[in-house]
Structure formats: C-alpha cells, structure tokens
Symmetry: C2
Subunit: 188 residues, 2 copies
C-alpha cells in the first residue's frame, strides 16, 4: 500500500551511488540509502532485491539492446559490422550517463565481489552476442571470436570513455577502439 | 615431519578431479580426496590451501609463461605477433594434458563460483599481458586491445581444443583461432 513516490527508483540509485562512493559499498546499508533518498526501506525493496542490484539493474536491458542491434543489422553486413552496429546502439543509451558510469566503475573496481559480478556480466553478454551471430548464420569459431572482439572493444572503449578528462562521445570512443583492434590484428 | 610421498601433489590433483567429476565439486571433501590418493589430509594441506586451489594451482605459472613469451618475442615483432608467440608457448605446456583439461573444464562449467574464479584468472592474465606489451613500448589503446584479443583467441581456441572428438594439437587450434580473428576483424 506504499504511496507513489516520484522517480523513487532513480533517487534510490543516486543515493546508493553517492554513499558507495563516500564510504564504500560494504559499509553502506539499505537503511542509509533509503534515508538519503528520503524514502523508506520498504520502498527500496520494491525497486531492488539488494544493494548490489542497484549497480547491475541495467545489465539485462543493456544486453538486450546490444543483442537486438546485432540481430537487426542489415543482412548484408559482415559479422564485425553487425557488432559495430551493436556498439553504436549501446553507446546511445550511455550518452547522458557519463558521471553515473564513472562513479559506478570506481565503486566496482574497489570491491572484489563487484568486480567478479561485472566480469560475469560481460561473459554473459559475449555468450548472448555469439547466439545473435549464430542467428545471422555466422558459424563457429567466427561467431565466438566476433563476439569476444566486440566485448573487448566495449570494455576498452568504455574504460577510455570514463577517464576523467575525456569529453568525446562514447560512440566515438567505441569506433576508435574498433578501428584500433582492426589495426592491431592486421599486425600494425 | 610428514614422510616423503612420491608425487603426492600429482596424485592429489588426479584424485580430486576424479571426485569432482564423479560427484560434483561441492559434494567432495578434502578427506575424500586424500583417501582416494592414498594420502592424509595433512599431506593435502601441505600442497594445496583448499579444494578449489587444486583446480587453479597452475594459473600463476601459466600467466608467467604467457607474459614471458610475449616480453621475449623479437623486438621487431608486431604486438599481435608477440601475442602469437605467447599463445605458442602456453600451448606447449598443455600438450600432454588434454584429458586433465577436459575434465577440469567440465567441473568448472558446472559450478558458478568456479566459473567466476576462471573469469578472474583470464582478466588477470589480460592485465598482465597488457603490462608486458607496455614493456615492449606498445601504447594505449593498442596494448589493451592486443591483450584482450590474445585472451579471446586463448579462450575460444582452448574451448575448441578440448571438444571430445578433437585430436589436433593445441598450438594448431590457437593459430587457427588467431587467423579467424584476423579474418573477422578484417570484415570477412
């Protein structure tokens, strides 16, 4: 019977990330997050299963978007170009979230359990992208290697995008990283 | 004061893997592993910190070998060719261990905690390889992307090498996977 709270989910995420950044993930309680957001614990648990989920709530959506863009690329596109379309699509969703992404990454890197969870997220995404490429008729090992290449570009491009001084758009960083991967694998 | 046991370490590893395969990793105790190996629990703990370590004891050595081969590649070698030299070196050490590698992989894939540990092993290896490439004068993002590409080839090549019917050498599978990665990134 909780009353409706405007943008409770977003306020909780913001409060959680602030607290994780200030005092560390482990040292923060759900009660503190709710208090900072001006909401109740009960409301927190209506939106998130636990305090870790605040950091990974977007993973499923991100993967779905990535996979769909790869699957929907023009039939004539080479596997790596379908992957590039996927990277473009995910870049768009991050556009106005650089500050959140920066803070989130710092929290994750500071905690072993969260780093493990992040690695699993990327491995799960690679498997889903491999499936999307199979759906396009790409055989093995090309599908797995293209998916792993896409995740490598995403990982490196993302890390460069959130560097403190960086102001270029994520899509540009991804394209640059993909171009660089092409250059290094070509032996340059 | 434990008496010397011939090849205790190898016998424990063999016994552990047999038991993990038969009844699952979680359902196996150190006491059972020692008994199957005809040794004592005390001897087990002289060789391994816990039952998980039996499966990851070789990780440090593998990484060292990989990194050293990349670092020691001819100065004139392109980054990706230094990585190929590393893949050749690790392949050699796996040469007569395909059955062990197959059984180990099946145990790891069946357990979430072990899969996480394996992902961390690969991420740590990628970071170490990036460092080795920096040591060769390779700048960012080329170093990170080459290291990630190397790990992608290792992962996919390894999975193909341990497929039941596969009889080709690991080095051959790695070279084939690297050639395929070059092909897909070139848009073929």
């Amino acid at each position: 019977m909780g009353r409706w709270e405007p943008n409770a989910r977003g306020r909780l995420a913001k409060a959680a990330l602030e607290l994780y950044s200030e005092r560390g993930f482990e040292q923060t309680t759900v009660a503190e997050i709710a208090r900072r957001a001006g909401l109740t614990e009960r409301t927190f648990f209506r939106h998130y299963a636990d305090k870790r989920e605040v950091l990974f709530a977007g993973s499923g959506q991100l993967q779905e978007l990535f996979v769909r863009a790869v699957a929907d690329a023009p039939e004539s596109a080479a596997p790596i170009d379908a992957m590039a379309a996927g990277l473009d699509a995910v870049s768009e969703t991050f556009a106005d979230r650089r500050d959140f992404a920066r803070a989130r990454q710092a929290v994750i890197m500071a905690n072993t359990e969260l780093r493990e969870r992040e690695l699993i997220k990327l491995a799960t995404m690679a498997a889903a992208l491999t499936g999307a490429l199979h759906g396009r008729g790409v055989t093995e090992p090309a599908a797995s290697l293209t998916a792993e290449a896409g995740i490598a570009v995403f990982k490196v491009g993302f890390e460069r995008w959130i560097v403190a001084a960086e102001e270029r758009e994520m899509a540009e960083m991804m394209r640059e990283s993909l171009a660089e991967l092409k250059a290094v694998t070509a032996g340059r």
